[in-house]
Symmetry: C2
Subunit: 296 residues, 2 copies
């Protein structure tokens, strides 16, 4: 099986169907790239495109769709609820299979250079691809949005990592980064007391001394009368699913409560589930090549 | 992802390299078929070929390699330790992904008809494809081997399911079947007392009142001084890995012994491990399409 990288560019257009279609068509026409999802939101005026493939093909699809967005979207006229700095607002690369985070960071830098040189758009590197700690978090990079950055881009602390020290007249700026796959994971408790879910969420989330790569909150599933620990696993290679599950199980037991079920919302990489099987079956030296389908 | 079937034909030639190569070449030249393994044994004078692909392509590769074996192998001159009835001795189809056992049985019947009509070889259906219970077990079909069956084929109870009621003059007869994927799975115990492994093996194996699709024995890993429950899971969809693991854990605890590790020997279908993750994480309605790589 080939190396696999996922890419999830966000474009600042969620209303004009023809513009969205033209941008997505640039992804579709790259051989070896598989389009997984297109999600447009009119009030955000934003479209999130998800595709996957080998690194070089994914980079090409990202560049082409970014170039098309620069032609079709005018940030001077853009309005929408979601924060944004450019026509192609963010482009994250995500390792999926046989690819390291370092390779994704290198890919992000190659793309950033290409966007800067060929499209004359300033580019900011963020998350794992950030060149300084203060640009690690996307909200910091996007501070002031398009309008604010346009005024501040000449300040030393806001100059781009690649490209001109001024906004592109219509396409603005773009943030390019690399990050882990985010898994949306919910654990349902055998109780209708949401305060228990909230307490457990606090024990596992990074912000309160819990696991480094875990965001969590307690919510109530009104239709089922079930309290749920709702979790974002922002790096399943650092904090795996089974560890969070076992900790929630142990914390719930302290209140005499059981886990009645769990669910993954949307997609996840196969490795995240193989890690679960590996843990519970106490595998000695399991090799992913032993998975039949991985030999195809 | 396409439907996937595995096929593991056994050919009665394990010595002449050129004949083995010519037979395997018939598998290789079918587009959409991936050759996984070729294992020849000189004393058995037998070669086991493993390949995988979409059902129609796999059937074609099976037929072509069977036709080539009929040309190159003369059962009148064949000697070897392993029981056999023909040049292509057995052809089992194994469901791997998005394919039911019924589909594999249908595929086996199509292939059997083709072998009977085009190659004039008598064919016996076995295991899940057996047309009568007495032919379910391969040893019963192969009773008396090539020489014995040659004499008894005219008897009503030994007539083939497809093809002529006489052996092919050089290629003999062929058994075609469908079965589940066999997983070789070992569980290592935190003890050097092999009698405990033997007792546990007896509790889980079908022959002693245990799980229907489990064969097991207790063995000693001399180099590690560790007792092991060595298991063949002959249908992981009927008796899953996690159930066997949990039962061994519980039975071992009765002797104050822990499981220190487990291992899969060779390949296994991804579904077998997804079932493990599904069980331990208590998934509610997990869909295999949520696995990212399965969308490619």
């Amino acid at each position: 099986m080939p190396k696999l990288v996922e890419c999830v560019p966000n474009f600042s257009e969620g209303r004009r169907r023809d513009a969205i279609d033209a941008i997505v068509a640039e992804v579709r026409r790259v051989e070896g790239v598989k389009l997984l999802n297109v999600q447009s939101d009119a009030s955000h005026n934003r479209t999130v495109v998800t595709f996957i493939g080998e690194p070089a093909a994914v980079k090409q699809a990202a560049f082409q769709s970014c170039a098309k967005a620069a032609q079709l979207i005018d940030m001077e006229k853009h309005t929408g609820e979601h924060p944004r700095i450019g026509a192609t607002d963010v482009i994250p690369f995500i390792p999926v299979k046989d690819v390291t985070m370092e390779e994704c960071v290198a890919l992000a830098n190659e793309l950033a250079q290409e966007i800067a040189q060929k499209l004359d758009i300033p580019v900011y590197m963020y998350e794992a691809a950030a060149k300084t700690p203060v640009r690690k978090n996307l909200p910091d990079v996007r501070k002031g949005q398009y309008e604010g950055l346009k005024a501040e881009i000449v300040k030393p602390e806001r100059q781009p990592d690649y490209g001109p020290v001024r906004m592109h007249p219509t396409a603005g700026a773009t943030a390019v980064g690399a990050r882990q796959f985010l898994i949306a994971y919910n654990i349902n408790l055998g109780t209708s007391d949401v305060s228990i879910a909230k307490k457990i969420a606090n024990t596992i989330r990074e912000a309160r001394g819990g696991y480094k790569y875990v965001r969590a909150m307690g919510v109530m599933l009104e239709d089922r009368n079930v309290a749920q620990v709702s979790i974002n696993m922002v790096d399943y290679t650092g904090t795996p699913l089974f560890r969070v599950f076992e900790t929630v199980k142990s914390e719930a037991a302290r209140y005499g409560v059981n886990i009645i079920g769990s669910e993954v919302v949307g997609l996840l990489p196969m490795q995240a589930l193989l890690d679960v099987a590996d843990f519970y079956l106490r595998f000695e030296g399991f090799d992913r090549k032993q998975v039949l389908e991985d030999n195809l």
